[in-house]
Amino acid sequence: MEVFDAKAEQWWQPRGAFAVLHWLAVARADLVPPAARGGAVLVDLGCGAGLLAPHLAGKGYRHVGVDASPVALAQAAEHGVRAVRGDVLAVPLADGCADVVVAGEILEHVTDLRRAVAEACRLLRPGGLLVLDTLAATALCRWVAVTAVDHLPGRWLPSGVHDPDLLVDRAVLADECARRGVRLAVRGIRPSVTDLLAWAVGRVDTVRMVPMATTAVLFQGRGRKEG
C-alpha cells in the first residue's frame, strides 16, 4: 500500500506507473453486463483511484468502491465512486447487497485469499455476478511479475508492488468460489503485442487486453452466484 500511495499522483496518468491497471479496467468493465434492474449496485473491491468508473458509465450501476487507502479513495470519489474505506478481508457492507462484485487486481495483494473470496461472494445477491482479474501463483507469473518486470517492453507492469508469496492459486480460488455458490470460469489475458509496442514508442495511449490460451500469468474470472 505504501508503494501505491507513494505513486498516488500517477493513478490517472495514462503513461504512469499504473498504466496497465487502466487497460485491465477496460477489459474488466467489458465483462460487466448492463444493470438488469434499477438501482443495481456494483461493489468494486480494491477500487484504488476508481479507474473502473469511466468504463462503467451508462451501464446503470451505483458504483461502490472499497479500498483501504484514503488517498486513493479521495480520487475515486472525484470520479463518481461512492467510496467506502475498508479492508477487503472484512468489507463493511451487508450480505447480498451487490448485483455485481468486482475484484480487479486485488486478490494477489491479500494475505488470506479464501477469506477475500468468501467476502466477495457474501456481498453478492443470489444470481449476482462476480468478475475478477488477478495474477496466478505460478513460476512463470513470478518471473514475469517480480523478476522480469523491469525488463518488459514499455515496462507495462509496475515494479515493487507484487509479493511473490501472495500470488493467487487458481485451484484455491475456484474451490472457495464453489463453496460459496459461485461457479467460476477463468481465462488468461495478456496485452495485445502490437498495441504494446505502439504504446511503448508513444504512438497510442492505451493497450487492449486480449485472451490467451494459458491462465498461468494474468487471468480473468467470472461466475454467477446460485439462487
Binding site: G127, R183, V186, R222
Partner: protein, 456 residues
C-alpha cells in the same frame, strides 16, 4: 438421405422434427398401438424450452403447461407449511426461459407430433422394429408390418428396454435397486390445482403422498413409495394410501399408473456404425430432478444436425458428448433420490444443476469456449428492429458471430457491433452491451454457433 427412428417418445419425436425440417426423409415407427397416455416425464427444463424454441413448439408448450408450483405440506390432515422447490426467476438477457414448465409427457408428445405433421411426417403406430442389419452403405430394417426398409441411419429411441440396443449387444451397465419402489399415477382429486401437495401422517413427514397438478387436465400426478405387494395399481389402493396420511382428499379417477424401481444404467456405447441410441435406450435413471425426458430431447438435438452433416468426426462426437452428459445426469438424479430415501429435508430443492443450461461439451477452459451453450442477448438488427441472438440461431443452420468487425459475406453470418461502430455487410448492434458481456468478447473475436446452440 433417409433416417429410420424407432420409438415415438419425446426423443424420437424431437429427432424427427429436427431432421424433417432439414428436408431429410424420416420415418418414426413405434410398436405401441396407441399413443402414450400418462404424465410420466412432466417437467420440462429451461434448456429443453430453448430447444423447443428452435424447433418451433415452445409457444404451444408454454400455453398448455404451467410454471412449477409451490407445495402445500399437510401432516395428519392439517396444513403446516408451504414449501418452494423452485425460486421462480425473471428472464435475463442471456437466459430467456429461466423457469421450467410443467406439462404431462402425453401432452408434450402431442405437441411434438403436431409439429412433425407440419412436415408431412406421421408417427406409425403398431409398427415395431423386429430386426435390422447394417452394411457400409446403410441399414436394412424389418418392421412388424412385414415391410423391409432401407435407411442411411437407424436411431433407437425405443426406451429403457430398447430392442435396438439389445440387438446391437450393447451392455447396459448399472443396477436396479430392488429395495425402493415407487407408484406413479394420474388421478383426479378435489384439490386446488394452483399448488402441489405433500400429505403425510405425523410423525413420519417424509414418507407420504405427493400430488402435483398436471396443467391442462383435471388430474394430479400421484407419487408415493410402493408397498411390497404393489405390482399394479387400482384407484382403491391409491385411496387407501391417501387415507393413511390422515388427509380427507377425494380421489375420483385413475387415468394412468405404473410401479417404478430405481434403475440406473448407462449404455456402454451410443453408436455402432450407422445405428445410434438416444434417450432412455442409452441411459435410464431415477426421475428425481426431472432429467430423463429432457436428457433424451437433448440427445436428439445433439444428433440431428450431425446425422444431416454426416461427417465421421461429427458422428463420432455424438457419443463422446452425450455419454458424458448422461453419466453426469445418472449421478445427479441418483443423488437426489438418495436425499429422498435419507429423508433429507432439502430433498425437494432444485438448483442450476437440474436446469441443464450449464451442460457443456468443453474440453478447454475459458469463459465461453467450444462446447459451451451459446448465450442469448437482445440486439438491434440492421433495419432497427429489436431481435435476440436466439432469433439469429433459430433454424437448422450454424451461425457465425464476429464481434466488432465485419463478418464474411455468407448466410447466417453477422457482425455484432458496439453502438457507433460501422462495418459493411450483415450486422446487429449490441445496443445495451449484453452480447459483448455474455460472450466476453473483444473486437475481432469470432464465434461459430453450432445448429444445436453450442459454441463450435
Amino acid at each position: 438421405m433417409n433416417v429410420l427412428i424407432a420409438g415415438a417418445g419425446p426423443t424420437g419425436l424431437t429427432l424427427g422434427i429436427d431432421l424433417a425440417r432439414r428436408g431429410i426423409e424420416v420415418r418414426v415407427v413405434d410398436k405401441a398401438t396407441e399413443y402414450f397416455a400418462g404424465s410420466r416425464g412432466d417437467g420440462l427444463q429451461p434448456r429443453t424450452l430453448e430447444v423447443f424454441d428452435d424447433l418451433g413448439v415452445v409457444d404451444a408448450v408454454l400455453a398448455e403447461g404451467a410454471p412449477p408450483t409451490s407445495t402445500h405440506v399437510y401432516l395428519a390432515g392439517k396444513f403446516v407449511m408451504e414449501r418452494q422447490s423452485f425460486v421462480l426467476r425473471e428472464p435475463t438477457p442471456d437466459v430467456p426461459y429461466p423457469n421450467g414448465c410443467m406439462l404431462g409427457q402425453s401432452q408434450t408428445e402431442a405437441i411434438l407430433r403436431a409439429r412433425l405433421a407440419e412436415f408431412g411426417v406421421t408417427v406409425e403406430l403398431g409398427t415395431g422394429l423386429v430386426g435390422f442389419e447394417q452394411d457400409a452403405d446403410g441399414v436394412t430394417a424389418m418392421l412388424a408390418t412385414g415391410e423391409v426398409v432401407r435407411a442411411d441411419y437407424l436411431v433407437g429411441a425405443d426406451g429403457g428396454a430398447s430392442f435396438v440396443r439389445k440387438q446391437l449387444g450393447i451392455a447396459f451397465e448399472g443396477s436396479t435397486d430392488e429395495s425402493i419402489r415407487m407408484v406413479l399415477g394420474d388421478v383426479a382429486a378435489d384439490l386446488d390445482p394452483a399448488h402441489g401437495y405433500w400429505f403425510a401422517a405425523d410423525p413420519d413427514p417424509m414418507s407420504g403422498v405427493r400430488l402435483s397438478p398436471l396443467p391442462g387436465t383435471d388430474l394430479f400426478q400421484f407419487v408415493a413409495a410402493a408397498d411390497d405387494g404393489d405390482t399394479s395399481l387400482t384407484l382403491d389402493a391409491l385411496r387407501a394410501r391417501m387415507a393413511a396420511t390422515g388427509a380427507d382428499v377425494r380421489l375420483t379417477r385413475l387415468a394412468w399408473s405404473t410401479v417404478w424401481r430405481p434403475n440406473v444404467r448407462l449404455a456402454e456405447r451410443f453408436r455402432v456404425g450407422r445405428v445410434f441410441l438416444a434417450g432412455d435406450a442409452a441411459h435410464v435413471h431415477p426421475p428425481t430432478g426431472g432429467q430423463g425426458l429432457n436428457t433424451g430431447v437433448q440427445d436428439a438435438y445433439n444428433l440431428g444436425w450431425k446425422l444431416a452433416d454426416g461427417s465421421p468426426e461429427l458422428l463420432d462426437s455424438y457419443e463422446t458428448e452425450r455419454r458424458g452428459v448422461a453419466a453426469r445426469v445418472l449421478g445427479l438424479s441418483t443423488e437426489l433420490l438418495r436425499k429422498y430415501v435419507d429423508r433429507d429435508p432439502d430433498a425437494d430443492r432444485r438448483d442450476e444443476n437440474t436446469q441443464q443450461l450449464d451442460i457443456s461439451y468443453r474440453t478447454t477452459e475459458g469463459f465461453l469456449v467450444s462446447g459451451d451453450r451459446a448465450p442469448d442477448a437482445p440486439v438491434v438488427s440492421g433495419d432497427g428492429t429489436r431481435v435476440r441472438l436466439f432469433d439469429l440461431f433459430r433454424g437448422p443452420h450454424a451461425t457465425r458471430l464476429v464481434f466488432g468487425a465485419a463478418a464474411p459475406a455468407e448466410p447466417h453470418s453477422y457482425a455484432v457491433l458496439r453502438p457507433g461502430q460501422r462495418v459493411p455487410g450483415a450486422h446487429v448492434v449490441d445496443a445495451d452491451g449484453h452480447a459483448f458481456a455474455a460472450y466476453g468478447a473483444s473486437d475481432g473475436d469470432e464465434f461459430r454457433i453450432r445448429p444445436d446452440g453450442y459454441v463450435g
